[in-house]
Symmetry: C2
């Protein structure tokens, strides 16, 4: 039986493409096998399980996204960098909705530890160098931005900002404006316990 020349990396890439075509949720070992012209069980020579496939696609997407983010923010600072970084996430999600969903896949702790997640965090932290934030507030800001980027993009992709005025592109821009202003005027920590 001639070998089809499959590799784990190749299957991961094919899986990522399939994800963008049919949606990450619809990616199956069976469909991938059909796409590669081999029988379903053959894929188990290269993949441990369906979950293994999804994990690999997720890691691939996170890496790809981090590479784009790194390129986009290189040589930029302050507001320029903030906009560039945010746009990377939004553009990637719109160009590659399946991969973007994959990047949101719940990884097990071990896989997560080896993922590009930390790169994303570092890149976000890097753009904050253009703002005057203390160590701790920088971490808060990283998480705020991370949450906003992901949340806005996810809601938008899900149609949450559907065809209503103003369009979501404007909201995106104004949100980035607002966040830039916020980062330039980050409020000091309150004196006592605040709320909960």
């Amino acid at each position: 039986m001639a070998r089809a020349g499959l590799t784990t990396a190749g299957l991961t890439r094919a899986g990522a493409e399939l994800a963008d075509e049919v949606g990450f949720e619809q990616v199956t070992v069976s469909e991938l096998a059909r796409r590669c012209g081999v029988s379903v069980p053959s894929l188990y020579s290269h993949l441990a399980s369906s979950r293994d496939l999804k994990t690999r696609i997720a890691l691939f997407a996170l890496e790809e996204l981090a590479d784009r983010a790194a390129d986009a923010v290189a040589g930029r600072a302050g507001r320029d960098a903030l906009v560039a970084l945010g746009n990377v996430y939004r553009d990637y999600a719109r160009q590659h909705p399946g991969r973007y969903a994959a990047a949101r896949f719940r990884l097990d702790p071990q896989a997560a530890a080896g993922s590009a997640g930390a790169r994303h965090s570092r890149l976000t932290r890097a753009i904050l160098r253009g703002y005057r934030l203390g160590e701790e507030d920088q971490t808060h800001a990283v998480r705020l931005l991370g949450g906003f980027f992901h949340g806005f993009v996810d809601l938008e992709l899900a149609g949450g900002f559907g065809h209503s005025v103003p369009d979501s592109q404007q909201s995106w821009q104004r949100s980035l404006d607002a966040l830039d202003a916020l980062l330039r005027n980050w409020p000091p920590a309150a004196q006592g316990p605040s709320g909960r």
Copy 2:
């Protein structure tokens, strides 16, 4: 054959509970049937499909969440309302991770139109009354907050802010502080095209 007394609403609630137990992704018609003590095909008297079940659970969760949000913001304004609203989302997600995930399920346009999604939007808009924002900027702020609430909570739940310092509770509080400050000092629209 005695009737088990199943109803669509009852199955939806049982499905929501199952979601919190095993995770929304693991909810199946088969498991629900086992839980109710009936055969799998029996459920098709009350549910159109597995997707119908998930859609119903999603609508249920969105409604439940909107009720909680309405209660929490009633009689509050400004920063107090902002914190209360944000906390509803975060608390719900932590208490009911499966239902929260269900609330994020991609509904088809028809189901989405009849969902509590618009209530959520209105509630967020309502808390913004305590801030001086123009009509359009209010919408931008609704989307920014919606994105942040969802994004932060989702990343947190996924372990994205794992056991590192400062803990995510502090980041949550500081983020709400920051957003309150932002809303009180919302930047005016820039003169010309900004960025993209």
